[in-house]
Structures are given as C-alpha cells and as structure tokens.
C-alpha cells in the first residue's frame, strides 16, 4: 500500500478514536441504560413530590365533616360521583419551587404551614359543576342560579359537605326554651290564637311549625332586606334573639290542627299540584328539614297570601319566587285547600 494512503488511514483512525473518546466523555453516564435516553431521568421525574392527597388523610382531624361528606351525595362511589376534599379546598401540600422548574420535595404541607382554602363564594364554586349549561350530561344536577336562589349563597341552605342535607340554616340558630317562650306568646294570641291556631284570624297557624323556620322568620322581620310586615315588625322590635328563639320553641311544641272542611274538588286538584312541593316540604306537607316550614294544616288565606307575596316580590326567597310565578291564583287556592286539609300530626 502506498505510504500516503497508510498515513491518511492512520489519521482517520486517530480522528475516529478521538471522536469515540469525546463521545464517551460527553454522553451522560446513564444514557443508553434503558434506551436512547438518560436512564437516570426516569427516577428523577418519579422523585417529584405529589401535591394532591386523598380524603382519607383529612378524616383524622376533620372526622365530623368527613362523616357528613361520606354519607352525602358528594360521595357516591357506586355512581362514580365523588367530589373529594381537595376539589373544593385545594391541594394539601404545596410546591417549593427553586429556580425556573426545579421542584423540590420540601413544599409546605397541611396542617404544617399550609392553610387549606375555604371557598368564600359558594355560588362561584358550586356553579362550576352545577350551573345549567348545554353540554352537561342530563344526570348531572344543574340549576339556573338566578331562578333557583337569586343572589343567595348556596351554603345558605345546602350543607356544602352533603348538599342534600339542608341543615345549614338551623345550624346557626340555638334551641329555644319553650317555657320562657310561653310567657311571651300572650301578645301573639290576638292574631295567631291561644294555641297557635288562628281559626280565621289573619296570621298563619304556628302550632307545630318547625322551630328553626319560626326563629329565622321572626329574625327576618328585624333584618334589613328581610321580611316586611308592619304588624310583625312592630311586634318583634322589642324582642331579643333569645326571645325569638324561645317563642319559636314554644309554638313548635304545640300540637297542630288541620281545618278538614275544605272543598273536595279543590283538595284533589291541590294534591296533584303538591307533588312539586314535596321535595322540600314533604310528600304530606311535613317538611324534612328544620329550616323549611311544614305546610300541612296551614291556614288557607295565609297560604295564598304568602304565594302572592312571592309573586309580587314582597316576600323574598329565590326558590319560592320562581315556584310562585309558575302558579296561577287558582292553583294557589287549590294548593291552599289541600294543605289546610292535610293531616299535620
């Protein structure tokens, strides 16, 4: 072989060996360990710290809330509908970010150093899933917010942890003392009767009504933007919250009576209409929730006046305003007849 070719080959060999050496030097150690990539990067990515936990971790300290949630409709594993704690409260641990993308496993954790968020605006939060919207599957509970509750917060009625539980309102009102309430009730008798049963007097029947509802109603007359009735506003002006709670306890303890003398046709027509009221006020007019009134045994005149009040806006309640607008005067009269006749004991 000619000398110059040998030399050229030698140079090429030297260059190749140098290139090979350089490649060995510059290629990361674990490259090609599992394939054409840096093997160590797999473990590096896997070592990142999770932020979201599971509800089990919350149970230890928040047993009461956890129990409410676990029994409620926000935890229906069989239907595949589970709204876990962190969906509303945010993740229970946080990132510690050093540099542009260097997540290190030292972020703060709840309860040490990290506070969970408590959503202030439940309308904003709940409507993320429950606002009526084209595209949502029919089995998803959806509401037209304005028609359902106006501008009220969802948590005003619903227990956020168990939304089909409506104890939210009564939870804030203390249980009253019926004996003390009786002493105060003398002033009320002129309109509501000695036994809380008016028999044609202008006010509603109060006997056997839900205590939570009565207390909230009384307080409503004192509250700005609450209930308005000249007579009642005057009556409660001198009462303390405790007085009102005691009064509510007294009337709730009395036994109620139904009128049982209504027009049979009207009662039958009212019964058919009453199906739509049943969700909240009970199938037989006895409400399932302490915050909502019983309708069974209510005076017919008062019932119709209340519905009219919701229709013209003098009584305020998002849900009831919507319902009342869908009922005619005739419907109201029929419903009133049905509930006045319904057994309330």
């Amino acid at each position: 072989m000619p000398k110059h070719i040998v030399r050229l080959l030698l140079v090429m060999v030297v260059a190749a060996v140098l290139a090979y050496a350089a490649k060995q030097f510059f290629t990361p150690k674990s490259f090609y360990q599992f394939g054409h990539y840096r093997g160590d990067s797999v473990a590096e990515i896997a070592s990142d710290k999770p932020n979201f936990g599971t509800p089990k971790a919350c149970e230890k300290c928040h047993a009461e809330k956890y129990a409410q949630w676990a029994k409620g409709v926000h935890n229906q594993l069989d239907k595949g509908k589970v709204v876990k704690c962190e969906v509303c409260h945010g993740p229970s641990s946080s990132r510690d970010v050093k540099g542009p993308f260097d997540n290190v496993a030292t972020g703060k954790e709840h309860p040490q150093g990290l506070k969970m968020s408590i959503p202030a605006d439940s309308v904003k939060l709940c409507t993320l899933c429950h606002e009526q919207m084209p595209g949502r599957p029919a089995e998803q509970r959806q509401v037209d917010v304005a028609g359902h509750a106006g501008t009220q917060q969802c948590t005003g009625c619903h227990n956020a942890h168990s939304p089909r539980d409506f104890g939210a309102v009564t939870a804030v009102s203390r249980k009253g003392d019926a004996t003390k309430g009786k002493a105060l009730a003398a002033d009320c008798a002129a309109c509501h009767g000695d036994t809380g049963f008016g028999k044609g007097l202008p006010g509603p029947n109060l006997a056997g009504q839900k205590e939570g509802y009565l207390a909230a109603a009384l307080k409503g007359y004192k509250k700005a933007g609450g209930r308005s009735n000249d007579m009642m506003t005057g009556m409660v002006a001198s009462m303390s919250d405790t007085d009102m709670e005691n009064l509510a306890a007294y009337y709730a303890s009395l036994s109620c009576q139904s009128a049982r003398d209504g027009d049979k046709n009207a009662i039958a027509a009212g019964k058919a209409l009453a199906a739509r009221c049943a969700t909240c006020h009970g199938a037989a007019g006895i409400s399932s929730q302490p915050a909502w009134p019983n309708l069974a045994g209510q005076a017919s005149d008062h019932f119709q006046a209340a519905l009219k009040g919701y229709r013209d806006g003098s009584r305020k309640n998002g849900m009831m305003e919507k319902v009342a607008k869908e009922l005619s005067d005739k419907d109201g009269a029929n419903l009133a007849a049905y509930y006045a006749d319904a057994k309330c004991k």
């Binding site: 090979y20 090609y32 990515i45 599971t54 595949g80 993308f101």
Partner: protein
C-alpha cells in the same frame, strides 16, 4: 505535509545546493513530525482504551439493572392506560386546574398539559362551535387566567347537541415525538409513559410539531418542551394522576392494563372505545367514549 518533504527523491534533477540544504532541515522536521504523530497516536490509543473500558463497565452495569431506581416500584410490573368518558364530563375544569398545580405549569391561558374542549352543534349549522378553557370569553367568565370556567355562552342558543372532551398527551405506543427528537430527550418508558428529560432537551421543538395531538408546548422558563407525564411522580407511588384524582364524575379513568381488575381494564371491557387520529400511526393510549367524528 509538503510534497518535497514526503517524496524527496522524485525530483533528482533539482539543484544540489538546495537539496543539501533541505536534507538537513528535513531530518529535523521529520523527527518532529514523527514525534507529534506518535504522541497523537498514543493519546488516541489511550483515550480509546479508557473509553472502551468505561463502556465495558457501564454496559456491565446496564445489564445488571433492568429498571430505574424508584423506591417500591418496578416498571416491568405495570403498563399504564387512560380512559376518557366524554358522556360523563361536565366541563368543570377541575382537572385542568389540578394539573397546573400538581405539575407547576404556568398559571396562564397559554400553557396546558391537559385541557377540555367544548363541542356545540347549533340548530341549522353543519359544523360544531369548538372552544376550550383558554378561549378569551371563558377566561373573562373565570375572571382570571389562573382559574378556569366555561362561560355559559350557549345558554340562549338553540343547541342540537353539545359535549365536553378532555384532552392530553396520548402516550402513544409509537410516539412521533420520540422518533424526531435529535438528542434522546424524550422517550417511552417500559411501563408505557412518554417522558421528557428537561436536562437533555435543547428546545428545538421538533417534537412539538411532530405531535399530532398538540399535546406538547415549549416552556420558556425551562427552555425545554413540556407535557403531560400521567403524573409519573404520582403513579409510581401508587397514587392516581391529579386530573383523575379530582375528577368529580369519573370521566377520567386511569389504571394498569396488566391488571385485569383495574379501572382502565374494566373501562375497556365495558365500553366500545376508540382513539384520536388512529390514522396517524402513533397508536395512542388514551381511549375515548362518547365523542363525535369532528373530535380529533
């Protein structure tokens, strides 16, 4: 190397004086050249030997270990799969927010590892209206680029049909993104996840263009590409990906295809599924239920 130095005898008719002079220089020059060549030759041999030794050692190590060092996790035991039931999705976007927090994605309207699209077919129109949480109208409804919410923009429209479709990296069996990466910065793991090694990525964005699903984005903080990892740091610890964990209606399903009782195996048994853009040849691993032909 000059011609006169390598072949001094070819020009025999050249002047003697010049020849003598150059002969003396030549011997010195040749000596120098030889020593230099010898030095390089030796150096190359040395380097080559060292490199070969290093390769031998590392290849020995590689054969000894068949899985990455992840505590309590063997990637040979798992093969992950993902299911999306669009008939269940309510478009609440909790998955999108959870993903951003879990994976430290930019909290803005331009970077998403997972996102949700809304398809709305109006009466009398042939093509659907499509928007995602990044649409300006939806950002206006949420009030911030850090929070996401679908605006109720079709409330008063006559809607024939509408549905939501969550999207993300499909962790394809034959990923085009891995194929085009010039530096081995993105790869398919043994347990079926496509990952990005941010340290190796040179930010050329070939993969961003190669992905048929638009699942990758360039992360300007990293100067590297970023995308969904199926929360590899969670699934290797026995947790679910964050989006699956927070989904309130089980529209997102995740599990181990090697486990016949896992949610994803059950999902694939119970449903007739299909994948996005099967014609692209990527063999994606996100299985969809309840999407229309317009979704791709």
């Amino acid at each position: 190397m000059t011609g006169s130095a390598t072949v001094p005898d070819t020009d025999s008719t050249s002047k003697d004086s010049v020849q003598e002079l150059s002969q003396e220089q030549l011997s010195q020059e040749q000596l120098q050249r030889r020593s230099v060549l010898r030095f390089f030759g030796a150096a190359a041999l040395g380097c080559g030997a060292a490199a070969a030794a290093a390769t031998a050692v590392s290849s020995q190590a590689a054969t000894a270990i068949d899985k990455p060092e992840i505590p309590g996790y063997d990637w040979n035991q798992h093969h992950w799969g993902y299911g999306i039931d669009a008939t269940r999705c309510i478009g609440c976007l909790r998955c999108v927010e959870a993903c951003k927090i879990e994976n430290n994605v930019q909290r803005d309207a331009h970077h998403f590892r997972t996102w949700v699209e809304r398809y709305v077919y109006l009466e009398g129109e042939e093509r659907p209206h499509i928007d995602s949480q990044a649409d300006p109208v939806n950002i206006a409804a949420s009030g911030s680029e850090k929070e996401y919410r679908f605006a109720n923009r079709y409330k008063d429209a006559k809607v024939d049909k509408a549905f939501f479709v969550p999207k993300m990296c499909n962790h394809c069996t034959h990923p085009a993104c891995v194929q085009v990466c010039p530096v081995g910065a993105t790869y398919k793991t043994e347990d079926g996840v496509v990952l990005i090694d941010h340290k190796m990525c040179i930010g050329c964005q070939y993969c961003v263009q190669a992905c048929p699903y638009g699942a990758r984005f360039f992360d300007d903080r990293l100067q590297a590409t970023n995308k969904c990892t199926w929360c590899y740091h969670r699934i290797t610890k026995g947790l679910l990906p964050a989006c699956v964990e927070v989904c309130p209606v089980s529209a997102r399903v995740f599990g181990d295809l090697k486990d016949k009782q896992s949610p994803i195996s059950k999902f694939l048994r119970d449903n007739r599924t299909h994948v996005l853009r099967p014609e692209s040849g990527n063999a994606p691993n996100c299985y969809y239920v309840g999407i229309d032909k317009e979704v791709s």
